[in-house]
């Protein structure tokens, strides 16, 4: 595909126009990726100690369901509460976020390492020390996102 990129200070927000003869899977993926790229510059409202903070996605380490709450942990391990369900957050957040189980989404750039466990699951250790499990059903998509499948 021929790609043209114009860089100028006159563009306040990035704006993309695609010239295609028909909608293909690749084009749809590109559109989705570009839309999510825009989401990276957005912030997520999160509550902590009865105050609302606006978190940058790149500062978020892990988001998971804890009981009825959707908890969000940042780089420094501060715990915030979000008011959006995980499936909605998954669509809002950019491509550096990946689902690891039905109840958790992680920022790939904040993963420290993964460890194998005897039961066939994999334990994921974040840079801030938080741990969670990659469930078997999400392992394939996790590896795909890393470019391993």
């Amino acid at each position: 595909m021929k790609v043209e990129c114009k860089i100028s200070a006159e563009y306040k927000e990035p704006y993309a126009v695609l010239h295609v003869s028909k909608m293909t899977e690749t084009v749809a993926e590109i559109i989705s990726m570009l839309e999510k790229e825009n989401a990276n510059s957005q912030t997520l409202p999160a509550a902590k100690d009865r105050k609302t903070y606006f978190l940058k996605p790149q500062d978020i380490s892990l988001i998971r369901a804890e009981g009825r709450e959707i908890a969000c942990y940042d780089r420094l391990n501060n715990r915030y509460l979000l008011d959006k369900p995980l499936y909605e957050l998954e669509n809002i957040l950019d491509i550096s976020f990946v689902r690891i189980s039905k109840s958790a989404i992680v920022n790939i750039n904040q993963i420290n390492h993964v460890e194998a466990s005897f039961n066939g699951t994999m334990e994921l250790v974040m840079k801030n020390g938080i741990t969670d499990y990659i469930s078997r059903s999400f392992r394939k998509s996790f590896k795909e996102r890393l470019g391993l499948e």
Binding site: K102, F118, L146
Partner: protein, 156 residues
């Protein structure tokens, strides 16, 4: 609900295929390495033997479905998998003659039970080695991505 039913069916079929594969490998090894008397005994009782292999396959392989759920805790999941697997394998194995059973010789029975546990642990360990290798690849990829990410961030 529909997805749980679909997942359960998938794991039952996975268990059956695991049991059948082991059954065929065992029969084939008897055939190749001269256990023809054993093979003949299996053929005479084929229906029960194959059904037993499938049941053990479901109990050992199919119960791995517990790891798909977020609850209960990880050690409880291992306990369910181990207890159901052993709880079916040992009685079926003794009933079908895979494991000799001597109720009057307690020590021998205990040793047989422990060796069955050892077989389970060996299988688990093989899965662990496989997962450890996967984890190693993932960690390697994460380091590469981290290098790319920091290179992009330092670019003006």
């Amino acid at each position: 609900m529909k997805s749980i039913v679909k997942l359960t069916v998938k794991y039952i079929l996975y268990g059956i295929s695991l049991g059948c594969t082991f059954f065929v490998i065992m029969c084939l090894s008897f055939f190749i390495w001269g256990g023809e008397d054993l093979l003949a005994a299996i053929c005479r009782d084929f229906a029960r033997q194959s059904a037993g292999a499938m049941a053990v396959g479901i109990a050992c392989g199919g119960t791995a479905i517990v790891y798909q759920f977020d609850r209960p805790g990880i050690f409880f999941k291992i306990a369910i998998h181990f207890c159901v697997g052993m709880g079916v394998f040992y009685p079926v194995g003794t009933y079908l003659g895979w494991i000799p059973f001597h109720p009057d010789r307690i020590l021998l029975t205990v040793l047989q039970f422990l060796s069955s546990c050892a077989v389970f642990i060996v299988i688990w360990f093989c899965f662990y080695l496989f997962n450890r290798n996967e984890a190693k690849k993932i960690n390697q990829r994460l380091r590469e991505l981290e290098r790319d990410h920091s290179a992009n961030e330092s670019r003006p």
